[in-house]
């Protein structure tokens, strides 16, 4: 297996994601953590684009980078002040966190190494948008109409809840 351009790009993205993730959990300032999280999401979107799955990449940018992170930053702006620092972690909490991370790593590695992957039949070119739309709206096998509708009900409930909390009495 020679070093190809794809491999180099993947390695750069992977290192970028890992470094940003570690920085996001180790930094003391909450807004910096949100910014590193944004970098992690950028890197993930980059991997989607590299896989030629531009729809998922664009969704990643729009929903996570442009939506969720903005929401986080907004709430941090409204609730915390400039000098706030995270408290130092207690040893027991630190230990529990490390243990959980290790357990997650073991499970992921176990699954990745144990699983026999199907031979990849990679198709060059992008997925047609109409195919994505059809599978999102179809009620047949491999159709996603139920999750799609359930999510819209969930979002509606969130909007109503937000209005209920925020309205003047």
């Amino acid at each position: 297996m020679g070093i190809t351009l794809e491999l180099i790009v993947f390695l750069i993205l992977a290192v970028f994601i890992v470094a940003s993730s570690i920085l996001a959990v180790t930094t003391k300032r909450i807004l910096r953590a949100a910014t590193y999280l944004l970098f992690v999401l950028f890197g993930t979107a980059g991997i989607y684009f590299q896989l030629n799955y531009s729809f998922l990449g664009a969704v990643q940018l729009l929903i996570y980078a442009g939506g969720i992170t903005v929401l986080y930053v907004f709430s941090i702006l409204l609730t915390s002040s400039q000098g706030d620092r995270a408290e130092k972690l207690k040893n027991s909490k630190m230990f529990a966190g490390l243990l959980t991370a290790l357990a997650g790593l073991v499970i992921c590695l176990f699954l990745t190494l144990k699983n026999t992957f199907l031979p990849s039949h990679f198709e060059h070119g992008e997925l047609p948008v109409s195919a994505i739309g059809m599978s999102m709206m179809s009620g047949e096998k491999y159709g996603y109409i139920l999750p799609f509708e359930v999510i819209s009900v969930l979002l509606l409930a969130c909007i109503i809840g937000g209005i209920l909390i925020a309205r003047k009495r």
Partner: protein, 358 residues
Amino acid sequence: MFDFSIVTSWIHELLTSVMPAGLAVFIECVVIGVCLMLAYAVIAIIMIFMERKVCAAFQCRLGPVRVGPWGTLQLFADVFKMLIKEIITIRHADKFLYNLAPYIVVLSSILAFACIPVNKGMEILDFNVGVFFLMAASSIGIVGVLLAGWSSNNKYSLIGAMRSGAQMISYELSVGLSILTIVVLTDTMQFSEIVERQADGWFIFKGHVPAVIAFIIYLIAGNAEVNRGPFDLPEAESELTAGYHTEYSGMHFGLFYVAEFVNLFIVSAIAATIFLGGWMPLHIPGLDGFNQVMDYIPGFVWFFAKALFVVWLLMWIKWTFPRLRIDQILTLEWKYLVPIGLVNLLLMVMCVVFGWHF
């Protein structure tokens, strides 16, 4: 029509004949990136010069006239001044975020800029979800604005950033709805394909009533999205000094400034592409001679003429109307533009289903 992809494929073949494909692709990416940045800077300079001249015309002045012929060298003097200014660091501010914020804004602006088709075969990013990607890329800029306001350690900046964030998030909705109206008409989201479909008439004519309504909504919302015109509250000089970029100096301020002007161009270019046909010449079905004469004008001339026309419209609005209050801005968006946009989308769906369009 001249197809620019002849040139690009010729260069690609030339490069792959002397080196491995991976290296060739890498070199092409670097060259395209440099060209993109260069185009970005040139467009910014043109926009700033145009803003000054148009503003002067609307206020019955002459604008810059002394440096160079018709004041054209004034801009280069300004850029040079901006480049050699000192970059001030703020005490008690989060330096990392403070220095990062302008780059996030510029990054989002450049990503959006790369989506615009300038000529036939001259698109840089041409995904089949192009419209969607453009909106995703332009939504990243909000993070940069919020970070800039927060990390400046200044309450005016913070208020400016909050206003800007609220305004940009709200108006993104209207921009999306009005673009979606045209996507319903075209059944594609790829920019090159959208332009191709307008060969027998631009969408503003083909989609008639709903397309015109969508165009007007898009102009209003796009103007608000780039924080200009009557919606320039985030940087209302008289109340907030300069909004989120009060504390920035030198080239960091320059990046915000350039991104703002290029965003104006991007909004106009997208309006020109999806409503006015992009690089597609004016074709009238039935008049073949006329169509052929129009085809002799190159595509990028059409594109820039249309985009600059929309820019001129937006500048006209900016220098004519007084600034709105923040609650008026949000009322306009949530109580008027969004409902109208939704009804308009429904109207367009009916037009497409019953075949009422041309």
